[in-house]
Amino acid sequence: MEPILKARGLVKRYGRVTALDECDFDLYPGEILAVIGDNGAGKSSLIKALSGAVRPDEGQIFLDGTEVHFGSPLEAREAGIETVYQNLALSPALSIADNMFLGREIRRPGFMGQYLRMLDHKAMGRIAREKLNDLGLLTIQNIDQPVETLSGGQRQGVAVARAAAFGSRVVIMDEPTAALGVKESRKVLELIQDVRSRGLPIVLISHNMPHVFEVADRIHVHRLGKRLCVIDPKLASMNDAVALMTGAKQPEASLMAA
């Protein structure tokens, strides 16, 4: 099977620090691929390169077999890759609906929308509410309340709902459960599986081993700026995973994913 998102030989340097060192990456259609690694291993740089937030110095990225060069997150998004960033990328003073539709606003039909470029606040509010309800993650009294009035978990919910609602090829989630309580984490994990069952592949970056081993189909172990190995969560244990990513253990053929 051809990977839907593939990277070969990615290099990213920040001054004298090499964050990505000839890194490879493969995501297959319909799977949940977890990316794990120590702090500073280069996970975030890899994700940023895939989502268009940074431009790699060297290497190639292929989406559905064709090479792509993302100059900005907007370009990646237009190609169908949605990302939930660790810092959530929400504008605190704007409303929930405004945030969900930032950069892809819906205009009113007819004269008002075409010539006066008036936004259809009603439609955006309705769709935003539907998406949040699908997620069942939060009770929002008012879709027009500014995001800064929400709790950390609710903000995470908005960011996840935005990605799940608009991703058409790939959804990337950077630590989606890091700020959430037990119950909200469970909701996000259910949502991740929900998104996969709709056929959308997901890249999940997480430090939470139980979550990773629960939902991932394959686990990409990142170490020292490159892919160390890809393990199968059914064959490897959490101990193996931690040992591999910290360098306590060398990759063994028996743990590898097919």
């Binding site: 998004r77 810092n87 606003e105 500014p146 081993f213």
Partner: protein, 356 residues
């Protein structure tokens, strides 16, 4: 060979037995925090209240002299230039920037409109278009330096202020074009000085243009994608970029827009003065920032409304006219406005706590 339990952890089974309701908050908001919340939603209420109180107080003290259609529309006329320049300033401040070159752009564009007509004999309409083009170009340079070269707006526009002002004096050779000449040869340049009378109310076209610009921008900022992006960029440019806003393009367009609006102010300035004078409008920088700050637009970006700026400009106008009619030393006006500026920023900080 895996030893750990997969799937939901044992301790998570309790989730489903608990009550199904999600956290709800029964705030017992105190009156004060309720007020703060409302102000947080619509920050322009504060300047509106101050404006109404000021009008009522001066009306009580000065009686019919102040509280007449004539006097009240006179205020509109007097703040017309500040209001237009303030609209340009508001756009820039909403993106967490500041534009110190607005006054200089206004003067230079008015000089361009005048000199192109009289020195080169161009048709006035074409000269006005050139003036607006010059405003747009200076705005573009500001925007380019801020967005692409990533220089701080304060520094860029501080430099641009000097550059534009010097260009203005060098180009015009410090020469004033007299009102009579303009009146006979190019009345189009003075069009914004013409008045319409409705009963006792007297409005100049300049004042009407200010209202049109402010209401048009209020619509654009509230109802269009570009307007929402201006707020998002001012709020958190990094988040806006990741969320798919073309931050650089928005920033440049904001500075270009500000330049064009300043050029319109330059046109209105000719109407106001009658003549074209390269030494006029020196205080419009500070006046526009004053209007923006009193109007409750946050200097940290992303918060406030352009209507607030209009109220801010009107407050200054009401104070000047009211105290002038009362016959006090004009310095009292500046003293009171100084207090208002500091109070406005203090209120802004207090309102921001509502979010925390």
């Amino acid at each position: 060979m895996a030893s750990e339990a997969r799937g939901p952890q044992g301790f998570e089974t309790a989730i489903h037995t608990g009550p199904g309701t999600v956290a709800e908050f029964h705030h017992k908001r105190s009156a004060v925090s309720q007020i703060r919340h409302v102000l947080h939603q619509t920050p322009s209420i504060v300047p509106l209240l101050v404006l109404i109180v000021a009008i009522v107080v001066f009306g009580l003290i000065l009686g019919g002299r102040f509280f007449s259609a004539y006097a009240l529309t006179l205020i509109l006329q007097q703040v017309a230039i500040t209001g237009i320049v303030g609209a340009a300033q508001s756009l820039v401040v909403l993106t967490a920037g500041i534009d110190l070159s607005v006054g200089a752009i206004m003067v230079l564009t008015s000089v361009v409109m005048g000199q192109f007509t009289f020195r080169y004999g161009l048709p006035p309409f074409f000269a006005v278009a050139c003036g607006i083009g010059v405003g747009a170009l200076i705005g573009y340079i500001n925007g380019f330096l801020v967005a692409r070269v990533k220089l701080p707006p304060f520094i860029v526009t501080l430099g641009m202020w000097q550059i534009v002002l010097a260009t203005n004096f060098l180009y015009s050779a410090n020469e004033t074009i007299r009102a009579q000449d303009i009146e006979t040869k190019a009345p189009l340049l003075q069009i914004f000085g013409e008045t319409v009378r409705v009963g006792g109310a007297v409005l100049t076209y300049g004042a009407i243009m200010m209202l049109v610009i402010v209401f048009a921008l209020a619509y654009v900022l509230r109802q269009t994608a570009w307007g929402r992006h201006v707020y998002a960029v001012g709020d958190d440019p990094l988040a806006a970029e990741l969320a798919g806003v073309q931050v650089k393009r928005v920033l440049i367009s904001v500075y270009v827009c500000a330049g064009v609006i300043c050029a319109l102010a330059g046109w209105a300035l000719i109407g106001r003065l009658g003549s074209v004078s390269p030494t006029s409008g020196q205080f419009e920088n500070i006046n526009s920032i004053t209007a923006v700050v009193i109007g409750g637009i946050s200097l940290f970006g992303g918060r406030g409304s352009i209507l607030g700026m209009l109220f801010g400009a009107l407050i200054v106008g009401v104070f000047s006219l009211g105290l002038g009619m009362y016959g006090t030393d004009p310095q009292w006006t500046y003293l009171l406005i100084g207090i208002l500026i500091i109070a406005a920023v203090a209120v802004d900080q207090w309102i921001r706590k509502a979010a925390a």
